[in-house]
């Protein structure tokens, strides 16, 4: 069930462009699927009028916490990133559809994240591992500063890195990593900038691999009411917030 809840910030880590926010609710958490997102209320200021959709990086039911990785891209994300310990954030969650879990427990799964798109890949990897799968991460950024929380990813599965400037891992794009030649995968999950996801989708199609992407269209309500965040698909315009954000590439027109 979707809920409006105040979460208190109990832990925070900051990097140049992104922030890790560990948020605790007073109430037990709703059931959250990997790939779902939250709508964060910013404040009532003129330039931050609407909520900001942010993907869920991690969930801990026992401690009633969710974790967000927020990239500073504008006034809204700056204000959310500047939240101080013990301050609360008003959050609507869980929203949208999550990633599909493979039926075959031996399926080889790879999770491809780019930039702040690495955020939902961690919780997905954790859930897949709990289900007995062995997730492999391919994470990319412009430079090493984009790649945060790598220790956490490594605790869940093998991590392969690319950076555009070569400051960490192999130089190039995620789709150019040598791991694609060395390993065979049955399922690709991806989240990141659209050009990256398009490249990943092409790689999946060329190799006949099932692939799900997590989209990030501009949205207002996050509930499927305003019809603003539509993606044009084989079924026509569908709301990314309600029918997505996770979509199978077979449904997309790109």
């Amino acid at each position: 069930m979707k809920k409006i809840t105040d979460f208190r910030l109990i832990e925070k880590k900051e990097w140049a462009k992104s922030t890790y926010l560990l948020l605790q609710s007073d109430e037990p958490l709703e059931d959250i699927k990997a790939g779902q997102f939250v709508q964060v209320k910013v404040d009532d200021a003129a330039n931050t009028y609407l909520r900001r959709p942010i993907s869920i990086h991690d969930v801990d039911y026992q401690n009633r916490t969710i974790t967000l990785l927020v990239q500073r891209v504008g006034e809204g994300t700056n204000k959310i990133s500047d939240t101080e310990i013990n301050d609360t954030l008003n959050i609507i969650y869980p929203l949208g559809n999550g990633f599909t879990m493979p039926e075959d427990k031996d399926a080889k799964v790879v999770l491809v994240g780019g930039g702040i798109g690495i955020a939902p890949m961690y919780y997905l990897g954790k859930v897949l591992k709990e289900k007995g799968l062995e997730p492999v991460f391919v994470l990319g950024g412009r430079s090493k500063e984009d790649l945060i929380m790598l220790d956490k990813f490594s605790s869940v599965g093998e991590v392969y890195i690319t950076t555009n400037d070569g400051s960490l891992g192999e130089q190039g794009f995620v789709t150019q990593h040598s791991v694609w030649k060395e390993k065979k995968f049955d399922m690709i999950y991806t989240c990141g900038p659209k050009p990256m996801m398009m490249a990943v989708a092409n790689l999946a199609r060329e190799n006949d691999i099932c692939c799900e992407v997590s989209l990030e269209n501009l949205m207002a309500c996050g509930l499927g009411a305003c019809l603003c965040c539509v993606e044009n698909t084989i079924e026509g315009h569908v709301c990314v917030c309600k029918e997505g954000p996770v979509m199978n590439i077979n449904k997309l027109l790109w």
Partner: protein
């Protein structure tokens, strides 16, 4: 005990003056996790046209100071889909389910109105003659008195329940249009629809909306909407339903005082999905505080 009931004409009774604006509340179901839908006066469902419409290309939304622009373009699956699939799901919600009827020709409007007329649990339609986001999206009719007269009188002939006409603010004199709607058989008017606006990404030198222009809504439009409700309420005898930027009980009360009999909440639903019930409660508290027995006594109670 404050009496919240609002009696509009033709048997349309609202349990309180708070309704939801079309296009901001889906079919109600999208909000049922957050509120008890039976606690609001009415739900204006998404604009419905004769045929399926895909709407405008993405991007359709731009945040603007204290508001947003949209250019959805009446995306909906058409009236037959509504009748067959959606109506059975929502018809027993214990509130007034009102269909917002849109079209591009008089024949389309009439065909949709006729089909809705046959639905037992739909007590009213809101005729959208004011959508700014589609070519002939009704706004062509809604910006001239003769256009309003043509479409409203034609629909009046085929629709015998409560007929609300939703007015466009993108006109010189909204009161004249309200009078035209009243003379053509409207049972009430609702206003305002969105204001035509525009947003530009200076870095990219491109418009932020695929359609270049779009409809402005949110808190920023409230003073304009309030002024127009005031002007229209003075001009017509039929009830006025006020909307435009209402985000709190105080906002709603201002519209009632300006002459609205009921109000609709739109964009504020996106920010707080439980806002409708909070506004309804806040209106009652205001009445208690001021010793007002009936919420309906607030209508037009502005002292000038």
């Amino acid at each position: 005990m404050v009496n919240e009931t609002i009696q509009l004409n033709k048997g349309l009774t609202l349990k309180n003056p708070v309704m939801t604006a079309s296009g901001t509340f889906g079919y109600g179901e999208e909000y049922s996790d957050f509120i008890d839908l039976s606690q609001i006066g009415g739900i204006l469902v998404k604009g419905t046209t004769l045929n399926h419409r895909e709407g405008n290309p993405y991007p359709r939304m731009a945040e603007t100071p204290s508001g947003m622009l949209n250019a959805v373009g009446l995306q909906n699956k058409g009236i037959d889909h509504f009748v067959e699939t959606i109506y059975p799901r929502i018809k027993d919600i214990d509130t007034n389910i009102i269909v917002n009827v849109s079209g591009s020709t008089i024949e389309d409007y009439c065909a949709v109105a006729e089909k809705v007329n046959a639905l037992e649990n739909i007590p009213a339609i809101e005729l959208n003659v004011s959508c700014p986001n589609v070519k002939q999206g009704g706004m062509a009719f809604g910006v001239t008195t003769s256009g309003i007269e043509q479409v409203v009188s034609a629909v009046r002939k085929v629709y015998d329940k409560h007929l609300i006409v939703k007015l466009s603010p993108n006109v010189t004199s909204i009161a004249d249009l309200a009078l035209a709607a009243e003379a053509s058989g409207a049972d009430s008017v609702s206003l305002i629809n969105t204001l035509l606006g525009m947003a530009i990404d200076a870095e990219k030198r491109r418009p932020k909306l695929s359609t270049i222009t779009g409809g402005l809504s949110g808190a920023c439009v409230k003073p304009i909407a309030l002024r127009m409700v005031w002007q229209v309420a003075k001009a017509v005898k039929i009830p006025v339903i006020g909307l435009g930027g209402i985000s709190s009980a105080t906002d709603a009360i201002e519209f009632l005082l300006a002459g609205a009999s009921a109000i609709e909440i739109g964009t504020a639903n996106f920010i707080d999905p439980a806002i409708t019930v909070k506004v309804a409660k806040g209106i009652v508290e205001y009445c208690e505080r001021h010793g007002i027995k009936n919420v309906s006594d607030l209508t037009g109670a502005l002292e000038v």
